[in-house]
Amino acid sequence: MLPFPPIERWRLPEVACELTLNAVMPAGRRGCESGVLWLGQRDALSVITAVVHPIGEGVEETSCFWSISPEAYAAVSAWARPRRLTLLAVAHIHLGAGRARMSETDRKQGLKVTDALSIIVPRGGLESDPSAWGWFVFDEGDYRELEELEQVRRIELTSTGEVEFARIDTGTQEPA
C-alpha cells in the first residue's frame, strides 16, 4: 500500500484561511514572502485541521522567496507525528497583485507528492477571498492549476471545524 492514499477532496475550514492570513501578513507588510503548512489526516476526504507557521532559525523570508530548511521541516515533523498529522498543503504569499501563478521556484522547489496542494495568496496576504487565491495540485509529476469547476468540486470550504494553529520555532522545536 502506498503511503500516500489518493485525495479526492479537501475539507477546509474557513478559520484555516484566516489563520493563514494572520500568520503571513506581517511578512507581507514588510515586503517579504512567507508561508504556512496545512496539516491534517490524509485520506480520500482530507480535512485540514492544523496550520503551522515555522519561524526562527532555518526560515528565510525575503522579498523574493520564502524558504524552510530541512531542520525546520524536521521540527514540524516532530510536532506533527504524535498528533498523527500529515502535510497536505503549502500556502504562501506572493507580493504581486496580479493573478496568482506558480513561479519556477514554486514548481521546482516545492513539495513533490501526488495530490499535495500549493496555494498562493496574492498581494502579500492582503487578498482575503480564497476564491481569488491560486490553487494548484501536484498531479502526474507537476503542479497544475485547479480549474474553477474542479476547485468547487474538490475544495470544500466550511464555516465549521476546529483548526489548531502552531508557530513552531526551529531553534527550540517547540510551539512558540
Binding site: 503511503p3 492514499p5 508561508g35 523574493c64 524558504s67 530541512p70 514540524v76 500529515t86
Partner: protein, 98 residues
C-alpha cells in the same frame, strides 16, 4: 542458531517518517550499514528522489532534529548502542516569485 540470534540482537530497528506520508518506513539494519543505504531505502519507500535542476533538491535524513550531512557514516556510529533509531526524511521547501 545462537549465531543467528546474536546477529538479530545486533540489528537496529530503523523507522523513518516523512511528513506528507501516512505510514512510516520500517526496516532492521546491521549497525555497520552506512546511512546512505537507509536514506536511499527511505526515499524509495516514500517514492521521492533527489533532483538536480536549476538548484539541487535533496532529501536528508534528520536524526534528533538535525539533518545528517555525512551519509557515509555507519548507523551504529550514529546511534551508538541503541537498538532502535527514528529518523525523519526531510527536505528544503522554497517558494517565491522568482
Amino acid at each position: 542458531m545462537a549465531q543467528v540470534e546474536a546477529k538479530k540482537q545486533q540489528e537496529v530497528k530503523v523507522t523513518a517518517d516523512y511528513l506528507p506520508a501516512t505510514e512510516d518506513f520500517k526496516k532492521k539494519y546491521p549497525p555497520e550499514t552506512v546511512l546512505e543505504t537507509i536514506r536511499s531505502d527511505a526515499k524509495s519507500f516514500f517514492h521521492v528522489q533527489d533532483r538536480q535542476e536549476r538548484d539541487t533538491y535533496f532529501y536528508y535524513l534528520a536524526y534528533k532534529g538535525e539533518r545528517v550531512e555525512s551519509t557515509n557514516v555507519a548507523l551504529g556510529e550514529l546511534v551508538e548502542h541503541a537498538h532502535a533509531a527514528h529518523f525523519s526524511l526531510v527536505e528544503q521547501i522554497t517558494a517565491g516569485v522568482v
